[in-house]
């Protein structure tokens, strides 16, 4: 089976994306690579994007049928300086021009926005799906508050993340255009089996 290699800004983004693919029945083997550091972020991703792509391409499991998805938050509300985002986009474009099957997948404004509209997560946390999830300035904080209100482990903890991921239904694209776009990108990727 072909692989999709997620180069993700952080591990929570990867885990959410993997679960959504699984729940949507998208058949692909998933691998992950993160930037260095205990709390990787967009700046490290931008600085290391070429090294991370090179690492995937040099991995002995890499095959020409595989593809790469660079997954990160769009952060338009919290990051006025767009240099890091431009660097990532330029790197993806450059590698794409060289023939590498690579897609940049962005969540607006954070990958947690996809969960604010997810029926499984919302039902578990006794919340109504948020129809404006993609426009919320701080989806991660919102989700964390929802967890606390529902007396569940905080989303920002390892345990909370795991619980939330376990409840994902994968249907957040009903209200999240950024997830809809991401799924379209991923479904059309050459490594995805119909």
């Amino acid at each position: 089976m072909a692989r999709i290699w997620f180069i993700a800004e952080d591990d929570s983004g990867f885990q959410i994306a993997r679960r959504i693919l699984e729940k949507r029945g998208i058949r692909v083997q998933v691998e992950r690579l993160l930037p260095t550091g205990s709390n990787p972020n967009i700046f490290q991703l931008a600085k290391q994007i070429d090294r991370l792509i090179a690492t995937v391409r040099q991995d002995k499991r890499w095959s020409p049928q595989d593809c790469i998805a660079v997954l990160h938050d769009w952060d338009i509300h919290k990051q006025p300086d767009r240099t890091a985002y431009d660097t990532i986009r330029a790197a993806c474009e450059r590698h794409k021009q060289e023939g590498l099957p690579i897609k940049e997948v962005t969540a607006k404004d954070e990958v947690e926005a996809w969960l604010l509209a997810d029926s499984g997560v919302c039902a578990w946390l006794a919340q109504k799906p948020d129809k404006k999830c993609d426009t919320r300035p701080k989806p991660k904080d919102m989700l964390d508050n929802w967890c606390k209100d529902a007396r569940k482990p905080p989303y920002k903890s390892e345990k909370g993340l795991k619980e939330v991921v376990n409840h994902i239904a994968g249907d957040g694209d009903r209200y999240s255009p950024s997830l809809r776009e991401a799924l379209t990108h991923l479904k059309n990727a050459p490594c995805i089996q119909p």
Binding site: P35, A54, T55
Partner: protein, 389 residues
């Protein structure tokens, strides 16, 4: 120096080969990935060469069953390859046993079967065949099997067998020292008449007895150990061992106390002392012979700021040509891994069936990352395995 290890049906090591070992090798992997099973197999060989095989099997089985779960009809195989100085001859030692059959055998003897000398056991329930022997690469030596179950270790090591055999037997035991992940020197220990003064116990409990023996009988070795102890721990001014007829006691004088005796000694200090003792214990008998030091999680209890100095010290030990030493270590710590080269690292992981796999760090990692990042930092990116899900 050990250059290759191969295990079949040994606990989670269903079929594992570890080649191209270096003088300093570190195994990394998630909890329960099988690192300790590799160390245990080497400790088992050590016991096998000092005690009778059946005792070694019974001892190991007492701790945990030694055969891979679910495997009932295949023997356990352990093979080690060793490069022997000074000619760098390759020697292999291989062992094939069926622990269940072995436990039912009352007597052991050798029999020539199909041009090979095979070990045979006879018991009330029938016959069993086991294989234990050395193979030397080179002209005219061929297969030579030693009766490891019936020949006392002394006969192997004192001249009755070819030099290469003796060197490997010495290297695996008694010229090997093992420390487990919680090993530490005690601050004091009561007199124990049966204590081994030349080999440190895996939990480090006899460290002070070994050090006391070293201080009394090998003062130059003890002084060298103390020099390294002071170099590694800047707060230590001096340390000594005293024995008052009832107990052995460690005294550490500290610089911040203007050379006064410290009322207590920290856990990290005691652990470091146990590790240095494991290394220097090898210098007390035939120091020129190659030696092996196996330490599980040596970084435990050590400040991250000390790790670079500690790894440099170990590396220096491996470079002492008059006393060739090999270190096999395990770790979970990326900060510790930062000071190793990719070729010194083996990544241990378990698959969905629970079987352990051991892999090298990809060669490309050096070129892609190590100009700016430490190997431990790169490990956390998941560029190679050994991290929990």
């Amino acid at each position: 120096m050990l250059t290759r290890l191969r295990f079949k049906n040994w606990r989670s090591l269903r079929d594992v080969e570890i080649a191209d070992l270096t003088p300093l090798t570190v195994f990394i992997g998630a909890n329960a990935s099988g690192k300790t099973n590799i160390v245990d197999a080497l400790a088992f060989l050590r016991r096998l060469l000092t005690e009778r095989s059946r005792d070694a099997v019974f001892f190991a089985e007492n701790v945990r069953p030694i055969r891979t779960v679910g495997v009932t009809d295949e023997p356990i195989e352990i093979e080690v390859e060793y490069k022997s100085p000074p000619q760098h001859t390759n020697i292999a030692y291989s062992l094939t046993i069926d622990p269940q059959e072995l436990s039912q055998m009352d007597e052991m003897f050798f029999e020539r079967i199909d041009d090979e000398l095979k070990l045979v056991g006879r018991g009330k329930t029938g016959m069993g065949r086991f294989k234990s022997g050395f193979f030397v690469e080179g002209d005219g030596v061929g297969n030579l099997f030693l009766q490891m179950l019936t020949i006392p270790f002394e006969r192997i090591t004192t001249g009755e067998f070819p030099f290469e055999f003796r060197t490997l037997a010495q290297f695996l035991s008694p010229h090997s020292q093992f420390l487990n992940e919680s090993a530490s020197a005690p601050e004091r220990s009561p007199i124990t008449p049966s204590t081994d003064y030349l080999n440190i116990d895996q939990d480090g409990s006899n460290t002070l007895d070994v050090l006391n023996f070293m201080q009394q009988n090998h003062p130059a070795v003890f002084a060298e150990l103390m020099n390294d102890f002071r170099w590694l721990l800047a707060h230590v001014e001096d340390a000594s061992i005293t024995f008052d007829g009832r107990e052995t006691r460690l005294t550490v004088k500290e610089r911040p106390l203007s050379g006064q005796t410290a009322p207590t000694v920290s856990g990290g200090t005691l652990r470091l002392l146990a590790m240095l003792t494991a290394y220097y214990a090898l210098d007390m008998q035939l120091p020129e012979l190659p030696g092996l030091v196996v330490i599980e999680e040596p970084d435990t209890g050590l400040n991250p700021g000390l790790l670079k100095r500690f790894v440099e010290q170990l590396r220096e030990y491996t470079r002492r040509t008059d006393r060739p030493r090999q270190f096999i270590l395990t770790t979970h710590n990326p900060a510790f891994l930062d000071y190793f080269q990719p070729e010194e690292v083996r990544v241990v992981s378990r698959d969905d069936k629970g079987e352990t796999h051991v892999e090298r760090v990809p060669d490309s990692i050096k070129e892609i990352w190590l100009d700016e990042y430490g190997l431990g930092e790169v490990w956390k990116t998941r560029a190679f395995g050994g991290l929990p899900e």
